[in-house]
């Protein structure tokens, strides 16, 4: 079960700079912690996060174990056209997941 909350304004004026916020449910296990039995818990973090506006990549991030559990990222983009913003992230287990949001540009 992975849940993500992405926050994109529903509408914007062409050329307006909008703020995008994303929060992803993920343990971000550092690989430096010991479990209850004293054995080091294997690292499992989201390594890469990408945001596309339509087909074009507008933002990406390489994450390391120093990013907090349930990662939160806020960034911005210029509203250019009505369309879909897609968010995609991949963790150490090789699982890739995604979320999306629609924006209407006037």
């Amino acid at each position: 079960m992975t849940r993500a909350l992405v926050n994109v304004p529903k509408t914007a004026k062409r050329g307006e700079i909008i703020e995008i916020r994303a929060m992803i449910q993920h343990v971000m296990e550092t690989g430096y912690r010991e479990g209850p039995n004293g054995v080091t818990l294997p690292r499992n973090i989201i390594k890469r996060f990408v945001c596309k506006y339509g087909a074009q990549e507008i933002f990406s991030a390489e994450l390391f174990p120093a990013i907090a559990a349930n990662p939160y990222m806020a960034f911005s983009t210029v509203a250019t056209e009505t369309g879909t913003l897609t968010f995609e992230w991949t963790d150490d287990k090789g699982e890739t997941q995604s979320a999306s949001a629609e924006i209407t540009v006037t």
């Binding site: 849940r3 343990v27 971000m28 806020a74």
Partner: protein, 256 residues
């Protein structure tokens, strides 16, 4: 550092008889946090607890068990049917003739009405459902029911709250009534009001229940914690909710 913390705990223990906090001085733990942690809670798009609330919304509408019914099959729309519910829990359970907490009630519904297995106290599913239900009371004042059948259990909760426990011989009251606002190690001691459960604790890096928090306190004073789901926790919660009467519900709260 550990020695310092122990010394300050012992300093707590040496203080005299617990005095109740006057109602006008009762304050949520929110007010003792840094502005950064307050902002993390107040801004829903940055509050990690909202991930569980969102998941609870999905689970509330998902058919479960042999009855193939969802919570919504009986309770319809949570924003209406669940509004104010968490603010008056725990409540008296006719069946067991004792108080039941919100998570206990959700599990009772699962077993009896949905024909599904009950969920573990620290499972994401139960935390999500409880967070979603309690979120419907966000901003509402805590309003314990005036049900006289609850009174003996509430008194038992108060007795546990005032009981010195563990190797450190500390009661809840010794810190949260007598020493709130003081520092223990680097942290401010709050008044211990359960206004925002289930809540996201930065220490846990996760969502957690009031029972998990109470277990943490019991372990902290070097006492043997009760098991999850133990009736003592429900009695303590009953007393704590009475003590927090009128404070606003904050679920999902964020705490350091």
């Amino acid at each position: 550092m550990i020695r310092l913390v122990l010394l300050s705990l012992l300093a707590c223990a040496s203080i005299g008889v617990a005095a109740e906090i006057p109602p006008q001085d009762r304050r949520s733990g929110f007010e003792f946090m840094s502005p950064q942690t307050q902002a993390m809670q107040s801004e829903e798009t940055s509050n990690p607890g909202m991930l569980w609330v969102a998941d609870g919304e999905r689970l509330f509408g998902e058919p479960q068990g042999s009855a193939d019914k969802s919570c919504a099959s009986c309770h319809a729309e949570a924003p209406k049917s669940m509004r104010g519910v968490a603010a008056r829990y725990p409540t008296f359970d006719e069946e067991t003739k004792r108080p039941i907490d919100l998570m206990g009630r959700i599990n009772q519904c699962r077993v009896k009405r949905q024909g599904a297995a009950s969920l573990a106290y620290q499972s994401d599913e139960l935390l999500a459902l409880a967070a979603y239900v309690a979120y419907q009371s966000h901003g509402m004042p805590i309003a314990p029911p005036a049900d006289s059948r609850l009174q003996p259990f509430r008194e038992n909760g108060r007795a546990w709250y005032e009981q010195r426990l563990g190797q450190l011989q500390l009661s809840c009251a010794a810190c949260h009534d007598d020493r709130w606002g003081a520092r223990l190690g680097g942290s401010v001691i709050p008044q211990g009001h359960p206004t925002g459960y289930p809540l996201y604790r930065l220490e846990w890096q996760n969502m957690g229940s009031l029972q998990r928090r109470l277990r943490g306190c019991l372990v902290g004073v070097r006492a043997q914690p009760f098991d999850f789901g133990a009736p003592e926790y429900v009695d303590i919660e009953l007393f704590l909710m009475e003590r927090a009467k009128g404070l606003k519900m904050e679920t999902p709260a964020v705490r350091p």
